[in-house]
Subunit: 162 residues, 2 copies
DNA sequence: GAGTCTATATATAACAC
DNA sequence: TGTGTTATATATAGACT
């Protein structure tokens, strides 16, 4: 914007994009803090650098996100006069969607956990150390992975497929 | 900051604070979107107005949160745990927000329903037609209303209170 | 309240180191 | 990479509608 007006589009140049990211991240967080201070609200920002492999960044902190959630539960129910059934339906829809997301997160976590256990076993760890409740799920996961390996072997044996 | 330089502190004046909140919220979200577009990152903001009884607000949309989660899947296992907690916290925050709204809607609907029944009875409708499960709540509501009437009668009888 | 206006405070792109 | 400098684009406080 200064010196040159910048087109609002993804910056292809790596160095320029990184520089802009750092500059603007700083500026944006300052804005968030000002809003927070001036207006007496709690604000929380999370950035996921989807193209790089760096960690997601959260402000002011992950702990704050936690606390915001706890505080929320303590809120007194306020008077709302215009609520309708239609609105209730919409809210239920939102809850359902969010719960679905939550389920996905949990499933993904479970899969990660089991994958790690699988690799530990492939690396020589004793099966005795695996929790009983993990074994069944682990079998399924290993089956899935074996299937992938199987397909690759087929492709190696039949190079014309490639 | 323009016209006058504003001191970075909580704005006591209600109207001014509300106006500033709306103005700056808009500006801040624009900054977040620009950062997102220019640098190819996913960003998410939650604002929790701790002093008022309004609901927390989240940006950008549910759809974006979905996509953020999908991107997240592709990351190596070691980096997952940190990200997951933040993501999960945000989703839980949204669920809590929606559930709180839902509770309000239900309470309000229930109260309106009972109030209608109460007026129908005052209008001569038989008590036999009232559902068993409504009777208890109805009594409480009527008690509340009678209490209000009682106080008004007292005030009429003792005008010096006014 | 929600817009519009306008003077001024800030944010920041390019450059240089 | 991370600074600092500077010219310019933006954001926005207060006033008015």
């Amino acid at each position: 914007m200064p010196r040159n007006k910048v087109k609002l589009a993804y910056i292809e140049n790596d160095a320029a994009r990184k520089a802009t990211f750092n500059r603007r991240k700083k500026g944006m967080l300052k804005k968030v803090n000002e809003l927070s201070t001036l207006c007496g609200v709690e604000a929380c920002v999370v950035i996921y650098p989807s193209t790089s492999n760096s960690q997601p960044e959260a402000w002011p902190s992950t702990a704050t996100a936690h606390r915001m959630f706890s505080d929320f539960k303590a809120l007194p129910a306020a008077e709302q006069s215009n609520r309708t059934m239609t609105q209730e339906d919409l809210i239920r829809l939102r809850i359902a969607k969010a719960e679905e997301q939550l389920k996905k997160v949990n499933e993904e976590n479970r899969k990660m956990e089991l994958t790690q256990i699988m690799f530990q076993i492939l690396d020589g760890k004793s099966l005795n150390s695996v929790k009983k409740e993990d074994l069944n799920d682990l079998c399924m996961l290993i089956d899935q992975n074996l299937h992938g390996i199987d397909i690759r072997l087929q492709m190696l044996n039949e190079p014309h497929i490639l």
